[in-house]
């Protein structure tokens, strides 16, 4: 299992469209992918789970990926966060 911490850096945080994009990307992989914020742990392939984090800009999240394609999955998700979901600021 791989883990990496990231900071939500896009202006609007994990809002609905960003969450939908995250789910679409995460669902490409067979690995189990979770987002962890403090005591909250949600399935990164569940739009409602991701949105219930209520993660605003500046929130620290830990991403875990576990499965055969965990390396690619984690890289993709981290890149998505780092690219601010390709949103204009």
């Amino acid at each position: 299992m791989l883990t990496q911490k990231i900071i939500v850096s896009n202006k609007l945080g994990l809002h609905a469209r960003a969450a939908a994009k995250l789910i679409a990307y995460a669902s490409r992989y067979g690995s189990e992918i979770f987002l962890i914020q403090g005591a909250k742990k949600v399935n990164a392939k569940s739009i409602l789970g991701v949105m219930m984090l209520g993660a605003a800009k500046g929130t620290e999240l830990e991403i875990t990926a576990n499965g055969e394609d965990e390396t690619q999955a984690l890289d993709t998700i981290v890149q998505l966060f780092n690219n601010k979901f390709d949103e204009a600021e």
Partner: protein
């Protein structure tokens, strides 16, 4: 094949929620339609005929999940009259419910009805009371 979705609500509530889901997700993974019920201007029997027709048209063999806005009101009561199609009805439609249904649209009709029910309930949070946002989704 897949389960398709029919929203039956007072006025344009269903269409508005459907538009918001499309705005969020882009193209929806299953056929989803909305019927606006305005009993002041429509005859009960003609509404029932339209719902029956739309449910039949949406059924590709795996059934139709009908989401209505409130239990006990005309949209839900009309939906319950449909007995000749494989349908399940969940009342209390909200945007979290519809988004979650789209997220798990590959499931069977009974499973998807459960997903809708859970999504609708778990989508309700109070930021002041700090309740609701820790639920498993």
């Amino acid at each position: 094949m897949s389960v398709n979705i029919l929203l039956i609500t007072h006025g344009n509530i269903g269409q508005s929620i459907l538009d918001a889901a499309k705005e969020t997700l882009g193209e929806l993974p299953v056929q989803t339609q909305a019927i606006a019920i305005d009993h002041r201007h429509c005859h009960y029997e003609s509404l029932l005929t339209e719902i029956r027709y739309r449910a039949h048209a949406l059924d590709e063999g795996d059934g139709v999940l009908i989401l209505t806005d409130i239990f006990g009101a005309t949209p839900c009561n009309l939906a319950q009259k449909i007995q000749d199609e494989p349908i399940q009805i969940v009342a209390g439609l909200n945007l979290p419910m519809l988004l979650r249904v789209m997220n798990y649209c590959y499931l069977s009709l009974p499973e998807l009805a459960t997903v809708a029910y859970d999504g609708g309930r778990n989508g309700i949070c109070s930021t002041q009371l700090h309740i609701g946002a820790n639920k498993s989704c």
